[in-house]
């Protein structure tokens, strides 16, 4: 009940509820005032996640009582084929975060990065969600 | 029928006693050139009925690794955070394991 109320509030706000799953911080080297000469970098990759249960609830609401049984059967079959541990919602592409190194090198060609924070978060909307991997830090240019 | 049931019960009990393990998170730091001196440390906390009142067991891993590498630098650290289900939801455990390489007398 609380989850449904939360979803209604998020619809009203149209911003989505943010959920943090993991956060890790690396070493910060500010010797010789490195951070004063540093450029802040922010890399974010995301993929759309789908909540099958909420999708089925919406389909049942739209389809009516006659379609409810068929939709429940389809939901059961689809769920059986998507079993396993989940962080956030399920996505249909697991390669969206594989280019992080290339993106970091493009942002910081010198490779002198410090204060790297890796964040795994979700932004929840009705039925869908944004599964986000974010890396922020400082690139020392001099 | 009774023999089949007995064998099935033994198999399930073995699985339960061994515990089903899942990985919660993993991280790896920079791997050094010299990889001669390998060290590792582990810490485990049993959780009954899902109740736990502190996470101090995590600090033991870092302290053990630092003690095993006096006056040196520990790098190439692989950290595993595991969840072990012995008899959920009554008996479970969290285990943190870290292994890395100790560089003695390395330059700062």
């Amino acid at each position: 009940m609380l989850n449904r109320a939360g979803i209604v509030v998020c619809i009203g706000l149209l911003t989505g509820c943010a959920q943090l799953h993991h956060a890790q911080l690396g070493e910060i080297d500010n010797r010789n005032g490195s951070l004063a000469k540093a450029k802040k970098i922010d890399i974010k990759v995301s993929e759309t996640g789908v909540n099958i249960k909420e999708l089925a609830d919406v389909a049942r609401g739209v389809g009516g009582s006659r379609a409810a049984k068929g939709i429940s059967q389809v939901e059961g079959i689809v769920s059986a084929f998507q079993l396993g541990p989940v962080t956030g919602e399920k996505v249909f592409n697991d390669k969206y975060a594989e280019n992080m190194i290339a993106m970091l090198k493009a942002e910081c060609p010198s490779g002198k990065l410090t204060g790297l924070m890796s964040v795994r978060e979700s932004r929840k909307y009705p039925v869908i969600s944004g599964e986000i991997v974010k890396v922020t830090g400082y690139c020392v240019t001099q | 029928m009774i023999r089949y049931f007995f064998k099935a019960s033994i198999s399930v009990a073995a699985l339960i006693l061994g515990g089903c393990v899942s990985l919660y998170s993993a991280s790896l730091t920079q791997i050094p050139v010299k990889r001669d001196n390998k060290i590792s440390a582990e810490s485990k906390k049993l959780i009954f009925l899902g109740l736990t009142f502190d996470n101090d067991y995590v600090d033991k891993v870092r302290d053990d690794l630092a003690r095993k590498c006096p006056n040196g630098k520990v790098s190439g650290i692989l950290t595993k955070d595991e969840f072990i289900a012995y008899f959920p939801p009554f008996v479970m455990a969290r285990r943190i394991a870290a292994e890395g390489y100790c560089e003695q007398n390395s330059k700062a």
């Binding site: 799953h21 993991h22 690396g26 080297d29 010797r31 010789n32 490195s34 540093a38 099958i52 379609a67 068929g70 389809v74 079959i77 689809v78 084929f81 998507q82 079993l83 396993g84 541990p85 989940v86 962080t87 919602e89 399920k90 996505v91 249909f92 592409n93 697991d94 969206y96 975060a97 594989e98 992080m100 190194i101 970091l104 010198s110 490779g111 002198k112 990065l113 410090t114 790297l116 890796s118 795994r120 991997v133 890396v135 020392v140 | 699985l15 061994g18 393990v21 899942s22 990985l23 998170s25 993993a26 991280s27 790896l28 730091t29 920079q30 791997i31 050094p32 050139v33 692989l78 595993k80």
Partner: protein, 133 residues
């Protein structure tokens, strides 16, 4: 009193809709990325390493049925693989991605480790002299 025959087109539409939904659900495998960790790169107060280095990758998987598994050795396997891909070199800027590919009452846990290798030897297969391909 004549009974009007039920129109078959709404039922047929519903059937195709459900069949299409099932097919897309079965065909589209779902995944979940649990964690992506990025380690440190070149020390900011040191000279840049010579050369750009080369990107090295290592991946390991573990197939699990009904959650019955007693170890997470696939992570250690990926750790050994990334080290053997850069023997005698230093690996910096490591990204560790932990994800799961879902399936029918089973799933595959995956770990992908990528990094930049500086100064390491490339693993290569050397054919003994005198032997033909």
């Amino acid at each position: 009193m004549k009974k009007t025959p039920k129109s078959r087109s709404p039922m047929l539409c519903r059937f195709f809709f459900l069949a299409g939904l099932t097919a897309s659900g079965l065909g589209g495998c779902s995944y979940s990325i649990h964690n992506v960790h990025v380690s440190d790169f070149t020390p900011v107060n040191a000279e840049s390493p010579s050369g750009e280095g080369r990107v090295v990758k290592a991946q390991a998987e573990q197939f699990v049925v009904f959650g019955f598994v007693g170890q997470t050795d696939y992570l250690t396997e990926a750790y050994r693989k990334i080290q053997s891909s850069c023997k005698g070199g230093e690996i910096r800027g490591l990204t560790t991605q932990h994800s799961t590919a879902h399936g029918f009452y089973s799933w595959t846990n995956k770990v992908l480790i990528q990094g930049t290798c500086f100064g390491g030897a490339v693993a290569s297969k050397v054919r003994p002299a005198g032997k033909k391909a």
